[in-house]
């Protein structure tokens, strides 16, 4: 990373009279248009005036102040930062896909619809579901869509009193937020000391006002919920449905399917399990799958395969409505399809198991110096509750910042909320033993350093492009545009 080039905003490189664009002549008479003055903006927008080389150098230098999976090890728990294969990028921008208008007649987009339909069928096989929609734009959007499916199903049965969703207290923050946006009330259920769902507590709140139970399996601690089938039976007996948050699907690839565990509705994050790049926070995709009998509630439009082998779009009467104008983040879907084809059934079966092996290897290699609150076999990830030796006062935040000095992205910190010093590590299957060994050595060094010279850890980071930012100052008088800075 590049301390040297850290600095200016593109606005600060602007000089009047420079430009970086060129546009074609269109052969039409110019200046034919006069619009009423009142409909025009009073002055030109304050955008930078820069030449092309300046734009390129500015953003390329900026990129060197960033850390991605291609830069180094990124063990960010619950985010599945696996390698993003390069072939996927090329397959996503082929001109005969990228040039298609979303409202073209279906006869002219048969290849695109086949790609969509094939991916939805593949995901249905992987999830053990009957059908998927690929329309939702992100995981949280998938959760919202899935909960709408569930409400539409209850409504179709005239069962309108089901206004609650049960969510374990270890769930991702999006779960309760999605429920609230879908107009449902959240009941939070405490976890057992080992991090699994408290089945008795769940049973106590399960009544005919509950629309669904949201779970992820393995859960946020990376622990497989072995009683999931029993929970599903209980939930179904109470007339509610089971929702699977697919954020943690990766370790189950080739091992067990949410549909077989008793889940009725699920989403997957194509940007986690299916290797599409996270893009600094998006675009992702959050396809939603449903078991047989719930298909007609999926959002419109749906892609269907006709009897003659061609593909079409359909609008279902029972549908929850539309959650997007189009078929979603299509180019992201193409990347995921490319990934599944590259791995195949054989590669997918390895992916889940190697992710689990890598996580357990790191856990077992560090458990003597970091506190392991749940001492069990994990799946793709696990949680430490800070350093084993807490006398130095070195916090999880300090450890995370010290990791940056050593060229690693930090694990997820202070989540899940079950522990005070959560440090959540997910190595993924695409990391080699050597990478893990180096990371383990650095984590051990930091633990030793915390005991021997805690101030060094507490004042980290020391050699990143910028130092620890003052968050309080940022929030106190927010400066959120260049123009705020100029005032």
């Amino acid at each position: 990373m590049n301390r040297e080039y850290y600095g200016k905003l593109i606005f600060e490189l602007s000089r009047p009279g420079r430009r970086a664009y060129s546009l074609p002549a269109n052969g039409c008479p110019e200046g034919a248009t006069l619009l009423p003055e009142g409909l025009l903006r009073k002055s030109a927008p304050e955008l930078p005036e820069v030449d092309e080389p300046t734009v390129v150098r500015h953003y390329n230098n900026m990129s060197t102040n960033n850390f991605g999976v291609d830069t180094g090890f990124y063990p960010l728990g619950s985010c599945t930062m696996k390698y993003n294969p390069k072939i996927n990028e090329e397959m996503a921008v082929l001109p005969a896909m990228a040039g298609l208008h979303p409202l073209q007649p279906v006869s002219t987009v048969q290849g695109a619809l086949e790609a969509y339909h094939t991916l939805q069928c593949y995901l249905a096989e992987i999830g053990g579901m009957a059908e998927f929609t690929l329309n939702p734009f992100a995981g949280a959007h998938g959760e919202l869509t899935g909960l709408m499916v569930i409400r539409a199903w209850h409504d179709s049965r005239g069962d309108s009193k089901r206004t609650k969703v049960i969510v374990p207290d270890s769930a991702h923050g999006t779960n309760p937020a999605s429920a609230a946006v879908a107009g449902l009330k959240v009941i939070e259920v405490k976890s057992m000391p080992d991090g699994t769902v408290d089945v008795e507590a769940l049973s106590a709140v399960l009544d005919d006002s509950v629309a669904a139970v949201m779970m992820t399996n393995p859960n946020t601690m990376g622990i497989f919920e072995s009683r999931v089938r029993e929970i599903a039976d209980m939930v179904h007996d109470a007339g509610a449905l089971m929702y699977y948050d697919g954020a943690n699907l990766n370790p189950m690839l080739g091992v067990a399917r949410p549909g077989d565990m008793g889940f009725d509705v699920m989403h997957v994050n194509l940007h986690k399990t299916f290797s599409t790049p996270h893009g600094g926070g998006g675009p992702g995709a959050g396809p939603v799958g449903v078991r047989s009998g719930l298909e007609k509630f999926l959002p419109n439009p749906r892609v269907v395969k006709n009897a003659d082998g061609s593909f079409g779009l359909s609008q279902s009467d029972g549908s929850l409505g539309s959650v997007s104008a189009t078929l979603g983040n299509f180019a992201v879907q193409l990347r995921a399809l490319s990934y599944i084809l590259s791995l195949g059934c054989d590669g997918l079966a390895q992916a889940g198991r190697l992710a689990t092996l890598n996580a357990n290897y790191v856990k077992e290699s560090l458990r003597d110096v970091y506190e392991l609150p749940i001492d069990r076999v994990c799946k793709h990830e696990f949680v430490f509750d800070g350093l084993a030796d807490k006398t130095s006062g070195v916090s999880t935040l300090n450890v995370a910042k010290r990791l940056l000095d050593h060229g690693y992205h930090a694990p997820t910190i202070y989540f899940p909320l079950l522990f005070h010093e959560s440090l959540m590590i997910e190595p993924t299957e695409t990391e080699s033993r050597e990478t893990l060994d180096e990371f383990i050595a650095v984590m051990r060094d930091i633990a030793r350093e915390a005991a021997e010279s805690p101030e060094v850890v507490k004042s980290a980071p020391h050699n990143t492009p910028v130092g620890l930012p003052d968050d309080t100052k940022a929030a106190l008088s927010p400066k959120v545009t260049y123009f705020d800075l100029m005032q």
Partner: protein, 441 residues
């Protein structure tokens, strides 16, 4: 041999299992009840080589028919400068996640800050968030924002001139969130402000949503609308096309509280529907009600200017079920796309895009009307680069004939009506070809 994406040798696996104290990887799954284990391979093809994947996609591509595009309806075929795809493929941008660790994420944080600044300049609003999924969901989120800001109102008014695809998504969110959505009537393709006034009188409206340019491509005059809304304590929400904002009056100048829309018109590939970019901007007074992430400037320990995610107390991971939005990730890379596009184009480039598109649109309207078979539906209304034509022939038949000739002529919006968009990408020769097909109808 393992798969090319997995570094593990047999020896690695052996030694790692030893460290874990188990004899096989399957032992790590001993807690999965046998009845749940899938004791077979997925019914999927076996792994493919890169060449085979490439061939597979080329076969799919061959089944598509790229067309000369005169379709818009919210999705526009603008030129994308080469610099943009070059920058967004930088893997430090592409393969990073949400900038949770600001010390090693200044690249992402700084472009989001630049993006927010540019969206503020374009829309004339004080504040922008870090981006949303697309224009339809961003508009739905603006509705939820208005409802939350009003505290006890749950009715919004939406002009019939808003893009119907956006309207569908608004209706879905509203239905499940318990919001009532009522139409503001349209007259001759324009929002009926008398109807709006009368519907505001009940003093129960949280927000009013209108569009510019509207679905029919028309520029509406919203003078006095902000005052009307504010007199009844409703928020004024303007859905807009950012490419046009280089020229047309901004939501800020109309007195909007929230500006919202899709960033696709900023040179993003049509890509059969996505990914695009939703944007949402607002007044400073509403900043703490904005959904999604916001980046702010601050200083590091050494006094250097740095950027961080700020005002996080609004967000789902803090507020959980009390959050008014569930959005987590933004559309990061597409925000970078918009930022680089706007850096390349600047104000002059945006203006030129608009002018060329308008010149082309005037030329095409004249050419189509000259056939005597098509007429501009709203001849006295101001428009930019998109317009509705009425036809004296069957639109489906027309579209089919155009497609056979390699042209997507527009989007049918009713019997005998087609919505046509022209951009700087369309040459006069293509317009002549389109008019030629009309002559032969």
């Amino acid at each position: 041999m393992g798969h090319r994406y997995f570094p593990h040798t047999e020896a690695d696996i052996e030694s790692m299992l030893q460290r874990c104290g188990v004899a096989s990887v399957d032992e790590l799954y001993a807690d999965v009840p046998p009845g749940l284990v899938l004791n077979r391979d997925y019914e999927l093809p076996r792994s493919m080589s890169e060449k085979e994947v490439r061939d597979y996609f080329h076969r799919l591509c061959a089944a598509n028919r790229p067309l000369t595009c005169f379709a818009g309806a919210g999705f526009y075929n603008h030129y994308s400068p080469a610099v943009v795809s070059s920058v967004i493929s930088r893997s430090e941008f592409l393969t990073a996640y949400t900038p949770y660790q600001p010390e090693i994420s200044q690249g992402t944080l700084q472009y989001i800050f630049e993006y927010q600044s540019m969206m503020s300049a374009l829309t004339g609003m004080a504040v922008s968030n870090a981006s949303m999924y697309d224009g339809t969901t961003a508009t739905a989120e603006a509705m939820l924002m208005a409802v939350a800001a009003s505290r006890k109102r749950n009715r919004v008014l939406v002009s019939q001139t808003l893009n119907p695809y956006t309207r569908k998504v608004i209706d879905t969110y509203a239905r499940y969130h318990g919001v009532t959505v009522d139409d503001i009537r349209q007259i001759d393709g324009m929002t009926d402000l008398v109807d709006l006034q009368s519907k505001l009188e009940q003093d129960d409206v949280a927000g009013v949503i209108v569009a510019t340019p509207n679905f029919y491509g028309l520029l509406e005059d919203y003078s006095g609308v902000a005052e009307m809304c504010h007199a009844h304590k409703a928020l004024f929400i303007v859905n807009c096309v950012p490419s046009a904002l280089g020229v047309i009056r901004t939501p800020g100048e109309w007195g909007a509280d929230i500006a919202v829309g899709d960033g696709q018109s900023l040179g993003m590939p049509l890509s059969y529907g996505g990914p695009y970019l939703g944007f949402i901007c607002c007044t400073r007074a509403l900043m703490r009600k904005l959904p999604g992430r916001i980046v702010g400037a601050t200083e590091d320990a050494g006094g250097q200017r740095v950027f961080v995610i700020t005002l996080q107390a609004r967000e789902q991971h803090i507020r959980r079920e009390k959050a008014t939005s569930n959005i987590c990730s933004n559309q990061g890379l597409m925000a970078l796309y918009a930022t680089v596009y706007l850096s390349v184009m600047g104000a002059a480039g945006l203006r030129e895009v608009c002018e060329k598109s308008m010149d082309g649109a005037r030329y095409l309207v004249a050419a189509l009307e000259k056939t005597g078979r098509m007429k501009l539906k709203y001849p006295s209304a101001p428009y930019l680069n998109e317009f509705v034509m009425t036809c004296d022939f069957d639109v489906d038949d027309f579209v089919a004939r155009c497609v056979a000739g390699g042209i997507l002529p527009g989007v049918k919006i009713a019997d005998g009506e087609i919505l046509i968009a022209v951009t700087e990408m369309n040459h006069r020769s293509e317009m002549d070809a389109l008019a030629g097909i009309v002559e032969n109808m």
